[in-house]
């Protein structure tokens, strides 16, 4: 089952990324990497992040910097199973919906509660991965049981045709 191990925080607001990193560092099982631009994040996608917290605006990084949506598209194209959580100072619903359209898992507004929300989102992802793992296991079990049942029916038919078993059990 896939587990959450590597987390990227991509934000040009150093205080925001530092605070989020500090907040999540209480979970020693996570390996957290901070990047101040989308370009840096994309260069490091070979580290296979399980979760990326991605800023929506990169105004501070300069006008030539990739914006959040472009970075989101690149991440989802290169690593479809990586979950991207957009973080923004904008509490506009249309912005949030737009990011979901391009595959973001969730959208968090920068506020005092954003760190707690980020933590909740990680646990939602972990829960979802666990459910997916269980669903996959049940699927495998169902297929195995189906195959076993099929083989049993075939064996019974062969034995029946050979007369090893009949319609009249011995006790009747």
């Amino acid at each position: 089952m896939k587990q959450v191990k590597t987390i990227f925080i991509v934000d040009d607001d150093l205080m925001q990324s530092s605070m989020l990193q500090d907040y999540l560092s209480k979970y020693s099982t996570f390996s957290i990497h901070v990047f101040s631009s989308g370009e840096e994040c994309i260069k490091n996608l070979s580290m296979n992040p399980d979760i990326v917290f991605l800023d929506y605006n990169f105004d501070k990084a300069g006008s030539n910097a990739m914006n959040g949506i472009d970075i989101l598209k690149e991440i989802k194209s290169a690593k479809p199973t990586t979950e991207v959580i957009m973080i923004s100072g904008q509490d506009r619903i249309d912005v949030a919906v737009n990011t979901m359209k391009y595959g973001a898992f969730d959208y968090i507004v920068k506020s005092e509660s954003s760190f707690h929300r980020a933590e909740n989102v990680i646990f939602n992802i972990i829960k979802r991965l666990k459910l997916q793992g269980e669903a996959s296991l049940y699927k495998k079990l169902t297929i195995t049981f189906g195959i076993a049942l099929f083989i049993m029916i075939v064996v019974v038919i062969i034995l029946y045709k050979k007369g090893v078993i009949t319609n009249n059990p011995g006790w009747m």
Binding site: M15, Q16, K110, F115
Partner: protein, 113 residues
């Protein structure tokens, strides 16, 4: 006189760890004054997009530092500059925001000294 800052959130966030608290306050102190200067420059140049973007970027830090009334002011500046509505009110609002931030900066400096 009422304080310009309320560090309840920051204290709770850092779990009372003074070093962490100082780290974040110092980050704010090294970042905020420059951004206020840039906001004033954008306004003087009539660059409302620049003003909106700078206000937007500064907003979370104003919230985390608990600058009283700062969040409301910077949100208004961001919205008015972004939508170009009531731009004639922006100089007064930015002046108020600058004064408020300067007072908050003084108090934050005292916190880390």
């Amino acid at each position: 006189m009422a304080k310009a800052i309320d560090l309840t959130f920051l204290t709770s966030f850092t779990g009372g760890n003074q070093e962490k608290k100082k780290k974040y306050i110092n980050m704010f102190l090294s970042y905020c004054p420059g951004q206020i200067t840039i906001m004033n420059e954008h306004l003087s140049a009539g660059n409302y997009d620049g003003l909106r973007a700078t206000a937007h970027a500064l907003k979370p830090q104003i919230i985390y530092m608990g600058i009283q009334g700062g969040e409301e002011l910077i949100k208004k500046i961001e919205n008015m500059a972004g939508t170009r509505t009531e731009v004639e009110k922006l100089p007064e609002m930015l002046k108020n925001f600058t004064t408020l931030s300067e007072e908050a900066i003084k108090e934050l400096k005292a916190e880390v000294e």
